[in-house]
């Protein structure tokens, strides 16, 4: 999967996106299952996913140099 370089404002927009899409929005049924790095996680709250999101950013950062 390709990864997009992010400007600082893009990073903030990504944070806003993550906060909304993963932590808000209506629930239609049952458990939410999110796969992070190939592992299915039953959703419990966005704060439990923060380390995964930061890993995502870490993967993007080295491309800036």
């Amino acid at each position: 999967m390709s990864e997009l370089p992010l400007s600082p404002d893009d990073e903030l927009s990504l944070a806003e996106l993550v906060n909304r899409v993963l932590d808000k929005g209506a629930l239609i049924s049952g458990d939410i299952v999110i796969s992070v790095a190939g592992v299915d996680l039953v959703y419990l709250g966005v704060r439990l996913l923060v380390s995964s999101v930061e890993s995502l950013r870490d993967r993007i950062e080295p491309r800036r140099g």
């Binding site: 999967m1 390709s2 990864e3 997009l4 404002d9 903030l12 927009s13 990504l14 944070a15 806003e16 996106l17 993550v18 906060n19 909304r20 899409v21 993963l22 932590d23 808000k24 929005g25 209506a26 629930l27 239609i28 049924s29 939410i32 299952v33 999110i34 796969s35 992070v36 790095a37 190939g38 299915d40 959703y43 704060r47 996913l49 995964s52 995502l56 993007i60």
Partner: protein
């Protein structure tokens, strides 16, 4: 093939030309007066910047001046169209109520941070294993707690200022602490399309009345109000 669920729309609101996750086609599953935009996948796509952006792009594509969808949280799957119809029928009244409430509105976000000055270390992150003394440790802890309390108070002041100046433009609002370094508060406002310019003008005014930085984002599908 399972179905990834994006958003709820009024029945008849067919998907526009927008690609779903991994470029998959988006189609509509309707039941009565409501419908859900979905895409089929052989396995659940993982959470990544690209899949989250694709999910949001589909919900955003469903939004215009006449229709505002009910955006669904990422990570919801059903086995087939029949299962989607069952879920839509089970809570059709709830979806219709939300669609009516959101019609003509969009969500706008305001992210309030400590600005360009070096951010004070977040109490939860500033873990220093070596302390010269217990007294220094306790003093540092008290200082960081005081800084956090000050940021919280300033965030509440900003939120109240925005609410007072834009009350006629904000149909609903949400507020939550911003738990990132230098973060103060994250606000979400439900704003009518016709009020967006005036709302932005208020944000501009308020940004000049504080040393904090205000980042406005939107329009979003109303995730914070769904």
């Amino acid at each position: 093939m399972s179905l990834h669920l994006y958003c709820i729309v009024p029945a008849g609101r067919a998907p526009v030309a927008v690609a779903g996750i991994d470029g998959s086609p988006v189609r509509m599953v309707a039941a009565g007066d409501v419908a859900c935009w979905v895409s089929a996948h052989s396995r659940r796509p993982g959470a990544s910047a690209l899949t989250l952006q694709a999910h949001n792009a589909v919900a955003t594509a469903a939004m215009d001046r006449t229709v505002t969808p009910v955006p669904l949280r990422f990570g919801q799957w059903l086995g087939d169209a029949a299962a989607v119809r069952r879920e839509l029928e089970r809570a059709s009244g709830q979806w219709l109520t939300l669609l009516a409430r959101f019609e003509g509105h969009a969500e706008y976000g305001v992210r309030v941070t400590a600005g360009s000055a070096p951010a004070a270390p977040d109490a939860a992150r500033d873990v220093r294993p070596v302390q010269n003394s217990g007294t220094e440790y306790m003093a540092g802890l008290a200082r960081r707690q005081a800084e956090a309390a000050h940021r919280h108070a300033e965030g509440e002041r900003i939120a109240a200022m925005i609410q007072a100046r834009a009350a006629s433009m904000i149909r609903d609002s949400r507020s939550e602490p911003l738990a990132t370094p230098g973060g103060v508060v994250s606000l979400a406002h439900l704003v009518a399309w016709g009020d967006v310019d005036a709302y932005h003008a208020v944000m501009q005014q308020v940004s000049h009345l504080t040393t904090l930085r205000l980042l406005c984002t939107g329009p979003w599908p109303p995730y914070s109000f769904s």
